[in-house]
Subunit: 117 residues, 2 copies
DNA sequence: TCTTCATTTAGCAAATGTGCTAATTGTTGA
DNA sequence: TCAACAATTAGCACATTTGCTAAATGAAGA
């Protein structure tokens, strides 16, 4: 897979992960608690069942927005703010940057948005 | 509905709209073409059927990321970059801002992420 | 007015996502 | 080794999303 296609997959995974309110909530909670929280502490804050929260965590993990570390019998989830800002923020920057630099050509456009539709 | 809950609905609509690659692509195309493009010109760039693209446009419309104007027998879609940056960018800012301001309390956290899970 | 063009709406099938309960894995401490 | 604990994986039901084709809408020009 080329670098450009891999980037598109990353963008897709991140925005898909951000599409659900529970997962956005998990990231906010993680951030507010200093970026490191056990799965149990996260699950305790939600009204849905523990397995459901666990699956949301896995989606975030697959998108690279968190990583996980075993600590005794707990799993500690660690927020990856850098990736959130790089991937989601990076995509959003195409819109701010537009006034300054020339990204009018199709080539440039395809580089960040191809393989859809 | 309170102001805070309305904001949560806006965040939800915007991130749900951004969750599909075709819709992200539409926004990029719109941006590259100066922010104003007819539905036909957009549909012509996609491999999926015209009605399918039309529905993607409606999702973007409902999220407030575009508006639409009738011009003769064409529909012109107009990008709303301001809303994209305000809602999606605004949500992302909770993570950058974290190092500077204190948002540790649960009250603050709930204000931007409640009603999930 | 009638046809043509541009696009949307309707309606259906297939795929995907979400939530639950029950069962499993792996760790700790007696 | 065994019980208790922390969390995940498995498997199922329900809801939503996505894509298609066919039909409808509404403006423009002959």
């Amino acid at each position: 897979m080329t670098r450009a296609l891999q980037e598109l997959d990353e963008i897709d995974a991140v925005f898909s992960a951000l599409a659900h309110a529970s997962r956005r909530h998990i990231l906010i909670v993680l951030n507010a608690r200093g970026g490191r929280v056990s799965a149990g502490a996260i699950a305790a804050r939600f009204s849905c069942s523990w397995p459901t929260t666990s699956r949301h965590l896995r989606v975030l993990l697959d998108a690279g927005l968190v990583r996980v570390e075993r600590q005794g019998r707990e799993w500690i989830y660690v927020l990856n703010v850098g990736r959130l800002n790089a991937v989601a923020g990076g995509w959003l920057n195409w819109f701010e940057a537009k006034e300054k630099t020339n990204v009018e050509t199709d080539g440039g456009v395809r580089a960040v948005s191809a393989a859809s539709g």
